[in-house]
Amino acid sequence: MSKMHVKLKVNGRQVEGLAEPRMLLVHFLREELGITGPHIGCETSHCGACTVDMDGRSVKSCTVFVAQANGAEIVTVEGLTNPDGSLGVIQEKFREHHGLQCGFCTPGMITRAHRLLQENPNPTEEEVRFGIAGNLCRCTGYQNIVKAIMAAAAELNAAKEAAQ
């Protein structure tokens, strides 16, 4: 099968490459671009470890062909740090509240939390739990993940108010 020319914007940077259309987005990010934040977990669109933002939506990059993503804007966990490279608010809150143990699900969790808080900046705990229902964590029991996201929402909202 012939390769196609793929153009993406990833974490604000324009990237191009050649790929077979059947290549999955997660493989393109990891193997062609060296962006290893999106993890390959279940490969069956259940676990959410491969979650990235695609054109302002959370998607599971193990179930998107790079051909489908051609032309799209992608954000991975690497794109959620501050400009100086320090941890972004959501990342920092995961650290502070110990919202991870082994860390395998964390990039997907944080990327999903980022989009959730864009869609719903002031979620209830129940809305957070429903909003991360597509991300599995086999260590934490979710308690601290939910706490971290709630704390991130509070801090982001406080920063927004202070800016106004």
């Binding site: 259309p21 179930t63 051609n70 597509g134």
Partner: protein, 277 residues
């Protein structure tokens, strides 16, 4: 899990998509959100040589709220169905059902057209569209035709759609003002297909009832609707239990499926009645 290779097409209008399908016959498959097809391709249970992605066809992404009917383009994602305020006003049952499908990431990609056209008995939209008496627009080489949702499903994964046709739009008549509505899904966990799910619409002198994943096809039961329209809830449940034909699987034995079906239906009826204006 790497799928077999394929040629990728991204046409920008329906006519071009139909032409590509016609050129490649059963070597080609339509790709909507891909959240049923891509998993099948990764398992190599499907290996189409050509994929015709509909995402470049802008008109398939629209939702139009008309006075008599709502028209939903095939590429409207479950996420869009949930987010659309006009749709939530006109047909709130669609949002209620869409929120019970899969998880947020899957709803970002999964489309109403794919959910309806795939013919998977586990999908939620087919039963809902039968309850709502929707029609599907199918475009093929000979032009466009419409098929009623209640006549579309033949058996698991077999529908009235021909291989060279594309399901482009869903036409949903608006229910009478004040009608009560509910979509109730019993499932083992978030993201799962229904163990049993019920779609109920009811109002003055009418009712419509359909169920999901309890037979090879969705089950819209006229007798159940008639009983419910007359206020006979138990008659409605009894008629539906006659109409369904569940099979034993990892969601439970037949007796349990029937028990869950009755529970889902009763809950949906109670909620629809409470919402009736």
């Amino acid at each position: 899990m790497i799928p077999a290779g394929f040629e990728y097409h991204r046409p920008t209008d329906v006519a071009s998509a139909v032409a590509i399908l016609g050129r490649h016959g059963d070597e080609a498959r339509v790709l909507a959100g891909g959240h049923s097809l891509i998993p099948m391709m990764k398992l190599r249970m499907a290996a189409p040589a050509h994929l015709v992605d509909l995402r470049g066809i802008a008109e398939l992404g629209r939702i139009e709220i008309g006075d008599d009917a709502v028209v939903i383009g095939a590429m409207v994602a479950q996420h869009d169905l949930i987010a659309h305020e006009g749709l939530a006003q006109a047909l709130p049952i669609i949002r209620e059902a869409a929120l019970q499908i899969a998880d947020p990431q899957v709803r970002s990609m999964g489309t109403i057209g794919g959910n309806l056209a795939n013919g998977d008995p586990g999908n939620d939209m087919p039963g809902l569209m039968q309850c709502l008496d929707a029609r599907f627009a199918l475009v093929g080489p000979g032009g466009e035709r419409e098929v009623a949702a209640r006549e579309f499903y033949e058996s698991a994964y077999f529908t009235a759609r021909e291989d060279d046709e594309i399901l482009t739009r869903v036409i949903v008549p608006r229910p009478p003002a004040g009608a009560g509505w509910a979509y109730e899904k019993i499932k083992r966990k978030i993201g799962d297909y229904a163990t049993a799910a019920a779609a109920v619409m009811l109002g003055e002198g009418f009712a419509s009832v359909a169920m999901t994943n309890l037979a090879d096809t969705p089950v819209w039961c006229e007798a159940a609707g008639r009983a419910l329209a007359a206020g006979d809830v138990e008659g409605c449940v009894a008629a539906m239990l006659e109409a369904i034909d569940p099979a034993e699987d990892n969601r439970g034995p037949v007796a349990f499926k029937k028990h869950a079906a009755a529970a889902a239906l009763r809950r949906a009826i109670a909620r629809a009645q409470a919402r009736r204006a």
